[in-house]
């Protein structure tokens, strides 16, 4: 149908309006950000799907390569240490410079 009809100006794929919710994050304009966040799939299935996508991106980029080095796992472990620190901050902040521990 697109190929058959002739319009005054040629119609490109980029001109067709895409629903905001389906855009990738980097394509969303700042004003549309709230709409985008509100429309994302926040059901448990949706969350698992998002986690799975993130995991697959990391895995295929850093670990599932022919000559992977220690960087892939090292980044994971450093991230784990950082998250543990944040998780325990309320508990650790009492550990500061004390005369008698």
């Amino acid at each position: 149908m697109i190929l058959g009809c002739k319009l005054s100006a040629p119609v490109k794929m980029a001109d067709r309006p895409v629903p905001i919710v389906e855009k990738r994050l980097l394509d969303v304009k700042l004003g549309e950000l709230v709409t985008w966040i509100g429309g994302r799939d926040a059901t448990p299935n949706g969350i698992f799907a998002a986690l799975r996508r993130g995991h697959d991106r990391y895995y295929n980029k850093y670990i599932n390569v022919k000559k992977g080095g220690i960087g892939g796992i090292a980044m994971l472990l450093v991230g784990y240490v950082a998250i543990s620190y944040l998780w325990e901050y309320d508990h650790i902040k009492h550990d500061r410079w004390r005369k008698y521990h």
């Binding site: 670990i63 796992i73 543990s84 998780w87 325990e88 650790i92 009492h94 521990h101």
Partner: protein, 227 residues
């Protein structure tokens, strides 16, 4: 708030979720799933090699009937070794320092071996309570002793793992505090303490691996008696 050196073993919570949840889930994310590719990435190859080698080593003394336990024992070993090693990173939480978790591993698995023995070969299982060649007058006493020894096994398994890891972490924290406090006062002594700390950390890495292995090995021995 009064602090003590044992505070590192309290399970901290954030937004109601204890850190132990994250620490227990992390080993699952660290090991990729085997694919049907012929040559996979390095992590997967190493993992496959280690698991194959370990299972072969563990299943040597067990007969065919014991091979049903291969998956359970190997996955337990991988889990424990990962938990122990991850606990050596700074600020992380080691779930295996909690007695509850270790007893949760030890008691059901030990009980399973005992029940398997009692169900399939009750005579042989009860016969283990009396070692061969005991002098006749000693028999009653020895049976009581062996029964007590049998029931102490799960407690020993759990407490061994807990105590080793807890003591290791505590020592690291103590010596690190000592080195840190001594640094401005007596730098040489602080340097010696820091060297001690380095050696202790290496020991802890070894202990982390060995304790996991001992746990699984003893379970396989109990299974060997009973299967």
């Amino acid at each position: 708030m009064v602090l003590s050196f044992f505070d590192q073993f309290m399970s901290p919570s954030y937004l109601g979720i204890p850190l132990m949840a994250l620490a227990l889930i992390l080993p699952w994310t660290l090991y990729p799933k085997p694919t049907s590719q012929w040559i996979s990435n390095r992590v997967l190859t190493l993992q496959g090699w280690f698991i194959n080698r370990f299972t072969q080593q563990l299943m040597l003394p067990l007969g065919r009937k014991g091979h049903k336990w291969a998956l359970l024992l190997t996955s337990l070993m991988v889990f424990l070794i990962t938990l122990n090693m991850l606990g050596l990173l700074p600020y992380t939480f080691t779930p295996t320092t909690q007695l509850s978790l270790n007893m949760g591993f030890a008691v059901p698995l030990w009980l399973a071996t005992v029940l398997i023995g009692m169900r399939n070969q009750p005579t042989i299982a009860l016969g283990h309570l009396l070692p061969e060649g005991t002098p006749t007058p000693l028999i009653p006493v020895l049976i009581i002793i062996e029964t007590i020894s049998l029931f102490i096994r799960p407690i020993a398994l759990g407490v061994r793992l807990t105590a080793n890891l807890t003591a290791g972490h505590l020592l690291i924290q103590l010596i690190a505090t000592a080195a840190f406090v001594l640094a401005p006062l007596m730098p040489t002594v602080a340097l010696l303490t820091a060297t001690l700390l380095l050696l202790l950390t290496l020991l802890e890495v070894a202990v982390a691996m060995i304790q996991a292995y001992v746990f699984v090995l003893l379970l396989s021995l109990y299974l060997q008696e009973n299967v």
